[in-house]
Amino acid sequence: MTDEHRQRLSDLQDGELASAGASDVLNAIAREPELRETWERYNLIGHAIRGEAIDPACRVVADRVRLALVSEPTILAPRRLVRSRRQQVRRLAGLALVASVAFVVFLAMPTLLPDPAAAPGPGSAAPRLVERESIPMRRWHMERPELASKLDLYLVTHQATAPATGANGMLPYATLVGYESFR
């Protein structure tokens, strides 16, 4: 096993290996016990770094699964049997059941599915404080304080000239007062 093997194993573990290369590495892991041991060690290191619980009983999982598969008896699919009259009756009962369920769905679907046109009931709008990251968080151009002061003046003049109706009260000014750390 070379350093390149180790590097590729590490990349695979971090999800950074291209899918084309992944199959080669997986084949190599299947062939070489040493690679499997390294893979297991890398997994343990990952668990430890992330502070996850480590179960000592999970060692050598790949080999244990392989041995278990070898010792499992082969399951042979039974030959399809010729349908008896009893089975025909069962199929009829099944068909009736399917029809009943479909009919119930047909009747109940409008009730079960929410109607977008309907007004939401009381209590449906729980207050949410939702984090959102789409707007870059900054306060004007802090590297140019004169420009930032000018934009502050323009914003205050704008808000004072066109006060938001009784509607949002001081909300526009909260933008001015609320941004502190980037000034």
Binding site: M137, A162, M170, R183
Partner: protein, 341 residues
């Protein structure tokens, strides 16, 4: 010999059962689609909801204008949470308001009848006034019908804020050129206990919420309702040397005035609004030390560019695309054409 499906009972039963299920699912789908058709009684319910929202918004505007209250708010923007203190007093017919940050360096905004004062860290104190401006700092209610072209007004249920029951009203923008609001309006006092700035998907951009509030008796008479505010002003056309083509959809010029600077220079100020959202365009002489490009402070955006030895800057609580479009359409006319619209 090849067996036909007619001769094979199991195949025919399978086909029949599949056909039956498909038929019933199809009928169910048709019934659902039919159920989505707006029935007359549903249209009536929608109209009632609009009326209810209109009444609530009018009550809210009146409450903000006439009640005295103070409280603590949280202001959430992106992943940051700030605590603010708000003191709103109505004394002798005058509204005075003060908003102070309780965390970080002291930042404050105070509003009085004819003046707004700001104290911000590392910046010059800002004081904006408009002598004799009868419509300065006016507030007015929101008329849902007037917003119909660019917003949807909806009742969004109820919620509990600061220990009080509220009704939730949404003013939802129909496009990406403006923001809307979601107000949680106190059932008793009609004050907005939580205000969200939202986009067309109703995703909140900024949220301001009372965590505690106390109402106090107002002293003296309630402030008189002034005339229509800038946002309600009729559309006008520029009479200066500057014109604006292709303003963002729905935004109209409603005001223009000149701001005299300490050095004697004049900055021209143009206000555009769609009756709820608004932005201002400032045109200053000279092209040095100005904004070239875009900047933002939260959901407030600004865009600037050079034009004929001047700098054009648009500022407003509107999306970036809106301020960009606002400055893109600015141009200068010859002196002989200034009187023409």
């Amino acid at each position: 010999m090849r067996r036909s499906s007619v001769m094979n009972p199991s195949v025919s039963w399978r086909a029949a059962s599949r056909g039956l299920v498909l038929l019933l699912c199809g009928l169910g789908f048709i019934q659902c689609v039919a159920a989505r058709e707006v029935r007359p009684e549903e249209a009536g319910v929608e109209g009632d909801a609009m009326r209810q929202a209109g009444v609530l918004l009018a009550r809210m505007a009146e409450a903000v204008r006439s009640l005295s209250y103070e409280g603590t708010l949280v202001y959430l923007h992106q992943n940051r949470l700030e605590t603010l203190s708000l003191d709103h007093r109505v004394e002798q017919g005058q509204v005075e308001e003060r908003l102070i940050s309780l965390s970080g360096p002291i930042r404050a905004v105070a509003r009085a009848k004819d003046r707004v004062m700001c104290v911000l860290p590392d910046g010059h104190p800002i004081s904006v006034e408009r002598a004799g401006g009868s419509r300065f700092l006016d507030t007015e209610g929101i008329d849902p019908d007037a917003l119909d072209e660019h917003y949807r007004v909806e009742m969004l249920g109820s919620a509990r804020i600061a220990g009080r029951e509220t009704e939730v009203v949404g003013i939802i923008p129909k496009d990406d050129l403006r923001y809307g609001y979601r107000f949680h309006i106190d059932r008793d006092s009609a004050l907005p206990l939580k205000s969200d700035l939202i986009d067309r998907d109703q995703e909140p951009l900024e949220q301001l919420m009372f965590t505690s509030i106390s109402l106090q008796p107002s002293e003296g008479p309630v402030p008189e309702m002034a005339g229509p505010s800038m946002r309600g002003a009729p559309a006008t056309s520029s009479t200066s040397q500057w014109r604006f083509d292709a303003a963002p959809a729905g935004f109209k010029l409603v005001m223009q005035h000149e701001m005299k600077q300490p050095d004697g220079s004049i900055i021209e100020h143009f206000l555009f609004t769609d009756r709820l959202s608004s932005y201002s365009v400032y045109i200053e002489p000279g092209v040095e030390d100005g904004l070239d490009g875009v900047a933002n402070i939260g959901a407030v955006h600004a865009a600037g560019r050079k034009l004929d030895g001047h700098r054009v800057i648009a500022v407003g609580e509107v999306p970036l695309e809106t301020v960009r479009a606002a400055i893109a359409g600015a141009y200068r006319v010859a002196a002989s054409d200034r009187g023409k619209p």
